[in-house]
């Protein structure tokens, strides 16, 4: 069971990474990068590291994503 969940999460994480690299819309790319952090935090939790999982979920998928979105908003303001 654990192996199946881990493999599914790993595949989701890989897909998220590819989308983050190659998608044309930057908003989608930023959200995909947040998805990678989210799956990584679930994998940490399954590997019995709840301390690391908490940090990854709060900082990786929460704060970083929103800061990227703020900066993207700023770049659009400047260019358009």
């Amino acid at each position: 069971m654990f192996v199946i969940i881990a493999i599914v999460l790993g595949i989701i994480s890989l897909i998220g990474g590819v989308i983050a690299l190659f998608h044309k819309k930057l908003v989608v790319a930023i959200l995909a990068a947040g998805l990678v952090s989210l799956t990584a935090s679930i994998i940490f939790l399954l590997l019995a590291a709840p301390d690391v999982a908490m940090t990854e979920a709060a900082i990786g998928s929460g704060l970083t994503t929103v800061i990227f979105l703020y900066v993207l908003n700023k770049i659009r303001e400047k260019n358009g």
Partner: protein, 233 residues
């Protein structure tokens, strides 16, 4: 063409190194020497039920002080680079947030603050600690900023909280140097009863300082980034 060949060679080289690592990998049946020492003695030496906290705050406490200073440096550099100018405050008009976001913020912000405080105050008993609790507190402030885009966190309060907790952390370390075995030794206070809230000597106090410090710094970063000044070019 040359570029593609180089990329191919680099990929093959990295693949070779990784294959070598994979070949040599053996699953370890026993803990390494240092980990074995921590697993055997940390609970009795520090009185902390959470082994990770015992290592992070006492055995590797000096490294934690370094991490906290790096975070402080990052926060101050961001505030310095994106200095908020007062004259933009009146000019900039924000689109109001959606009703759903505003209502859910009113419900969730107090809960998130309490969860954050719980995480760092119980760092020596349950998973989590200063960094995690501070990040949760910063997320609560982030939600407030998203719901009221014009809001400003008071820089005076943030800087006071940040500096007082930083000084408190260092003073707790120095107290260990004077009254116990060494810098950041937690046995200045009594170890208390194992597994209770008031136990593990100085660890809860140090983690409360770290939590407040990290929360203030991350909130400051988020608040600065949400009010990025307009560039004139």
């Amino acid at each position: 063409m040359v570029k593609n060949t180089l990329i191919l060679l680099l990929t093959l080289g990295i693949g070779l190194i990784m294959y070598d690592v994979y070949e040599d990998f053996k699953f370890q049946e026993s803990l390494p020497l240092l980990g074995d020492y921590y697993a055997r003695n940390a609970a009795s030496e520090t009185g902390s039920a959470n082994l990770v906290t015992a290592v992070v705050v006492t055995y590797r406490g000096f490294d934690t002080l370094g991490e906290v200073s790096i975070l402080f440096l990052t926060a101050s550099i961001i505030s310095f680079m994106f200095k908020y100018k007062e004259e933009h405050a009146t000019k900039k008009e924000y689109r109001p947030a959606s009703e759903l976001l505003i209502s859910s913020t009113q419900v969730f912000t107090p809960i998130m603050l309490i969860v954050g405080i719980y995480i760092f105050a119980n760092g020596h008993l349950s998973p989590g600690g200063g960094f995690q609790g501070g990040a949760v507190i910063a997320s609560a402030f982030l939600l407030m900023l998203l719901a009221n885009p014009g809001m400003h966190l008071s820089h005076k309060i943030i800087s006071r909280v940040e500096s007082i907790s930083g000084i408190g952390f260092v003073l707790a370390g120095v107290a260990g140097l004077v009254y116990a075995g060494g810098f950041l030794d937690n046995t200045v206070l009594s170890k208390g009863e194992f597994g209770h809230l008031l136990s593990a000597g100085l660890i809860p106090i140090i983690y409360i300082f770290i939590g407040l410090k990290v929360g203030a710094e991350l909130s400051n970063i988020v608040s600065t980034m949400s009010h990025l000044p307009k560039e004139n070019n």
